[in-house]
Amino acid sequence: MVKKILLVVGLGVGLLLVSSASGREYIKISDPNFRPYPIAIADIKDVNGTAADLARQGTETLRFDLGIAGVFKVLDPRSFIADSKQEGLSGASINFSDWINVGAEGLIKVGIYRSGKQIAMEGHLFDVASGKELLHKKYKGNAAGLRKMAHRFADAVVRHFTGSPSVFFTKIVFAKRTRRESKEICIMDFDGRNERCVVKNGAINLLPAWSAGDGVYYSSYLHGGPHLYLYDLKKKKSRVISKSPGLNIGASASPDGKAVALTLSRDDNSEIYVLNADGSRPRRLTRAWAIDSSPSWSPDARRISFVSERSGNPQVYMMKSDGSGAKRLTFQGNYNQTPDWSPRGDFILFNARDERLVYDIFKINWTTGEIVRLTQDQGNNEHPTFAPNGELVVFTSTRTGESKLYIMSADGTNQRQISRGKGEYTTPEWGPWPAK
């Protein structure tokens, strides 16, 4: 799509590098002349021959991470000429011409060593043209931490090229239908690994959203309602945040975490309110005799985008975060929902039903009104939210039947399924940067 066109243009220009404060030059994905950096990831070497399965898992993790990072073109290992079992890990033992010939500009070489339950990993990053080693990292720990080590090295590689942290340690929260009439609140790593359900009380629990701290807001029918709760990931306990009569749904934490926007119907109509993070001091923002729902904060907390059907059908609007100055943003189609403001501030993701009555994901530049379609002809695609770096998007898709979780680049390319389990996966929200 868009990226392919850029790639063709970019080939003539060459890799665009931007000077950084530290003197190093970084790849900038948002530059119009950006092209992905071609990188070869050799199969991880099982150095003492006792960790073949771990080597395979580590290789898979590195290729997935750098594949979705956005800045790389991860080369197909089936095209590789060099024999990764024979070739060494140090610069002196590598025949770089074999890697130049498959089109690589960067080369990743990793070895793992197993000793009982302990493993050690060493990772190397080379510039293929010069044979110069750009990065050399060593990690050790329990064998169960193998994927985490691979994420750590992949993150170091991303930081080397972009100067920015990767999303490889972020998590995604979602609601998963486990039985016909119950839904659980579950969390997984950004790549779909380590799925675990944290709220499973047999009731319908829905619309989870990250709080700024170690918590997840969600709505539950546990005691009617639905009421809004906050699950504390450290204490492993839930507490009530809002139980006004009617709906208490669709929480969205403000960027500083001190407030939460949500939909309440205590006025006999769905309106958007802002509460303090603990549920106190409700302030009503909307006053239209229409459904107002789905608030999402701008990263500077000055604005809130939301859905309203005050025009007769659901459309995306925005207003100042005190409720003033409401403005309609979408004018195409008659069914636009679930806005999510980019952490970069420029685009708002949303979901639209097109003229064929199919649901797809779009983004709109709220200052210019420019709209970009991100999904097409792949089932129904809904409920998009941005990763904290604004470069990736998680969403649901029915392209294989039941609703599952997928991620893609913010330009719509590189779509991959991440959920692995059975059941219906709904309403994902990409979590914040992990605490330092």
Binding site: L206, G225, L247, G250, S293, P314, Q337
Partner: protein
């Protein structure tokens, strides 16, 4: 010939002996007897024995007439006419008895009507359906709610939860709001029909509790609804 007619025959024989053989055809007796027999043609089934006896007597009378034994014939004709009249009486009595029996059965339907007046109205609340992205009531929806208001009129102690539901298309959040609007539209209409609003609680389940979890037009139509739950 049945033995009970023997006295009549003896009488006939005696009459012949005494009076000799008159030559006059007993025309009035013939006419009367024939008419009486015609009149009881319909009694063939209700008094079959008497009818048959009258007929046999008439045949006998005709035989006597042929033989020009007029006095004997006259007596036979009279007997036939009397038998015919007897058959008619028997039938009339039977009919009266039947009519009386019918009259005695009649009070039952009257009792049933009283029971209907005491009936408790519709036996249940019925589900109301909605169009896509609609929370306004259709004609069918209003008809269903008229039924439900009638039900509530007959169950004054019942409190009801009105549950608004949506099909699976569109966002979870918007559908929760839409389901609530459906439940509110139902409550508003029921209140208009005289139901006390304090008896009606509303809740929206959005798209979370489909009747039919399939993804097709039929399932969507079934899932866009308001249901009624008795709160005991």
């Amino acid at each position: 010939m049945p033995t009970r007619f023997l006295p009549i025959l003896c009488l006939l024989a005696l009459t012949v002996l005494i009076a000799g053989c008159p030559k006059q055809i007993p025309q009035p007796e013939i006419d009367a007897a024939e008419q009486a027999l015609l009149d009881i043609e319909s009694t063939k089934d209700c008094a079959p024995e008497t009818y048959q006896a009258a007929k046999t007597m008439m045949d006998r009378a005709r035989a006597l007439l042929k033989e020009e034994r007029y006095e004997e014939a006259k007596t036979a004709l009279t007997a036939a006419r009397q038998l015919a009249e007897k058959a008619r009486r028997e039938c009339d009595e039977k009919k009266k008895a039947e009519e009386l029996a019918a009259k005695q059965v009649e009070p039952e339907p009257a009792a049933k009507e009283i029971k209907i007046e005491e009936d408790t109205g519709p036996d249940r609340m019925v589900t109301v359906y909605f169009g896509f992205n609609e929370s306004s009531l259709t004609d069918e929806g209003r008809a269903a709610l008229n039924n439900n208001a009638e039900y509530l009129r007959h169950h004054q102690d019942q409190r009801i939860q009105v549950e608004g539901h949506c099909d699976s298309r569109g966002s979870t959040e918007y559908n929760l709001a839409l389901g609530e609007r459906r439940a509110m539209a139902v409550r508003k209409y029921l209140v208009k029909l005289g139901v006390n609003p304090t008896r009606l609680e509303i809740i929206s389940y959005g798209e979370e509790r489909p009747v039919n979890p399939s993804q097709n037009e039929e399932a969507w139509n079934q899932n866009r609804r308001a249901e009624f739950l008795d709160l005991k």
